[in-house]
Amino acid sequence: MSATDTGGRVRKFGSAVADGWTRERFGLLGALGLVLLAFGPSFQIYLFTDFLVVALFALGFNLLYGYTGLLSFGHGLFYAGGAYGLAIVLRDLGPVFADVVGSGVAPLVTFVVGGLVGLALVVAVAVPVGWLSVRLEEIYFALITLAFGMIGYSLIIQDPAGLTNGTDGIIVLLGSVDVGGESFRIGARQTYYALTVVVVLAAIYGVWRVVNSPFGTVCKAIRESPDRAAALGIDVRHHRWMTFIISAAIVGIAGVLRAGLASVASPGLTHWSTSAVAVIATVIGGATYFSGPIVGAFIFLYIRWGISRFPTLDAYWELFFGALLIGVVLYFKAGAVGGLLLLRDRLFGEGRAGGDDGPTQGGGGAAEPGSSGDRADDRGDDS
């Protein structure tokens, strides 16, 4: 396999948890950076935490889009599912837990239980929704997931079960843990940052393992050619369903973290425009790369933040992302990661046979990002 040292730079997170000498080094550097950031300005910690959450959201979404070719416009449903699971447990069971385990550690217990309930809720929804949705493909899949997302949105804002507090959403207050005289707030900036780093890195590692497992390899094959995969004895629909559930679960974890960070579980999370955030981040970053959604989320949030420093631009920030999205799809379908790799190839002359055209200029006008080598997702730990 071609050298992965330089490619590793854009795969900071994949590398951070991988073996190998150079990966270890990059992992250390990354870890150091993450630790140092905890002492940075408060808002920067917040912003980076936000980035991690959105990155996980996009990564979960892309498990389905990038790895089986199904574009969901309804993943907001699972993002919200995680958030509401946590919020409802905090609101309704927080006092109960305080009685059971004592008020000192109750907030932590409640948070953990809430997160698990959120996750369970998401999986419980994803199992039937996924089972139905994977019956369809392409534009029809996008439409049915959009519809499922909007059913969720409708139910959350109309709240027939009296659980979701309608349009206002549910306030999420994580509370303080008191143990042996020491007290810390779970929602405090650094604490929550540390918690998010751990959870997100673990989740990314989990996704990375899935992607590089036999299952993940089969999924990539399905993306490339579903009928060919079926002809090899692969139950395409079943794989897509499983991927759908895993994808939803990852997004659900992101949703749990989102609720704690935003301090509110709001119905907007279910809306298709939230689902679109994952699409935007993934497309900008590059859907066929493992790190694509992560890089895309980074670009999305930091450009967004940069724009927000200039209120006049800020008022029209979506304009930039609209233009960026169109530009990327039209001219650079491999996204930012593809661009970085191409740049690396140009700079270091690490092109490989047949790669002279670069990923955006496949033959016959079919610009397939997959046509580039060095695709992060396709490399296992062999090298």
Binding site: M1, R209, V210, N212, S213, P214, F215, G216, T217, V218, K220, A221, R223, E224, S225, D227, R228, A229, A230, A231, L232, G233, I234, D235, V236, H239, M242, I246, T288, A353, G354, G355, G362, E368, G370, S371, G373, R375, D378, G380, D381, D382
Partner: protein, 262 residues
């Protein structure tokens, strides 16, 4: 000779058009059977019926069962309504006329997908895709067998057409089929590549205990490799027999050359 694949009165109707009309055929173990016929004779539809891509309008399809579970006396199991992946799992594998491989993956990864599928480890979420030594060894063996070792780590979208056709065959072989359907294995190849693929098919036939069903336009290839030739015309079997018998059959010549007297 035992029968490994059998169709009984297979028929497929598209609206008013009968693409496959009452085809009953028995394929014998170890043979290379070529199915030929003019354009529109129903060859591709026949393949699609066999592999579960299309459901027949009438008739049935039977395949020798690897696991011994059969529902007729002859060691065959009915796969008429099976889905494509079930057909493949039952032991029927195909290569495509228009190259259909996993373009974005390397040659090795292509074969790995097939092996993973065959070894039923495809729903394993946790281990490394490359971690199963037995599978990796199988992959090496298959690459060796098909002569793809040198380009094993090349992404398929950068291969030549001939190399892709070979990957196509490697994929189909990797699931160790009892019956191997090849849809025009030489389509779109230059003469050198054709020669190579023919010798590959011969080698495979010699090395493996598999049964081949081949459609092919290139008559050199057909006469070269076939134990038996079946001629389809307008959806029905026109002739069936050894190459010598079939190729001298007047009806066959007419079907190909066309004649007012038909």
């Amino acid at each position: 000779m035992t029968t490994v694949l059998k169709t009984e009165s297979l028929r497929k109707q598209f609206g008013e058009l009968t693409a496959v009309d009452d085809v009953s055929i028995e394929i014998d173990d170890g043979d290379i059977t070529s199915i030929i016929g003019p354009n529109g004779a129903g060859k591709t539809t026949f393949y699609n019926l066999l592999t579960g891509v299309l459901q027949p309008t009438a008739g049935s399809i039977w395949l020798r069962s690897g696991d011994g579970a059969t529902d007729d006396g002859g060691g065959l199991r009915e796969i008429t309504d099976a889905e494509p992946h079930e057909v493949a799992q039952a032991g029927l594998s195909r290569s495509y006329q228009i190259t259909n491989i996993f373009e974005g993956l390397t040659v090795r990864e292509n074969v790995r997908v097939a092996r993973i599928s065959h070894e039923r480890t495809r729903l394993d979420f946790r281990s490394r895709a490359t971690g199963d030594e037995a599978i990796e060894a199988d992959i090496e063996e298959l690459l060796e067998l098909t002569g793809l070792t040198d380009i094993a780590d090349t992404p398929c979208d950068t291969l030549s057409h001939g190399e892709k056709r070979t990957v196509e065959i490697a994929l189909a072989l990797a699931i160790e089929p009892d019956v191997f359907l090849m849809d025009e294995p030489t389509a779109g190849m230059n003469p050198t590549e054709v020669t190579e693929i023919v010798s590959l098919i011969r080698e495979l036939d010699a090395d493996l205990d598999a049964t081949f069903v081949v459609t092919e336009h290139n008559m050199d290839v057909v006469t070269d490799i076939s134990d038996r030739i079946v001629v389809l015309a307008e959806g029905s079997i026109l002739a069936d027999g050894t190459p010598d018998d079939v190729l001298t059959d007047e009806r066959v010549t007419e079907a190909y050359l066309g004649s007012d007297s038909v």
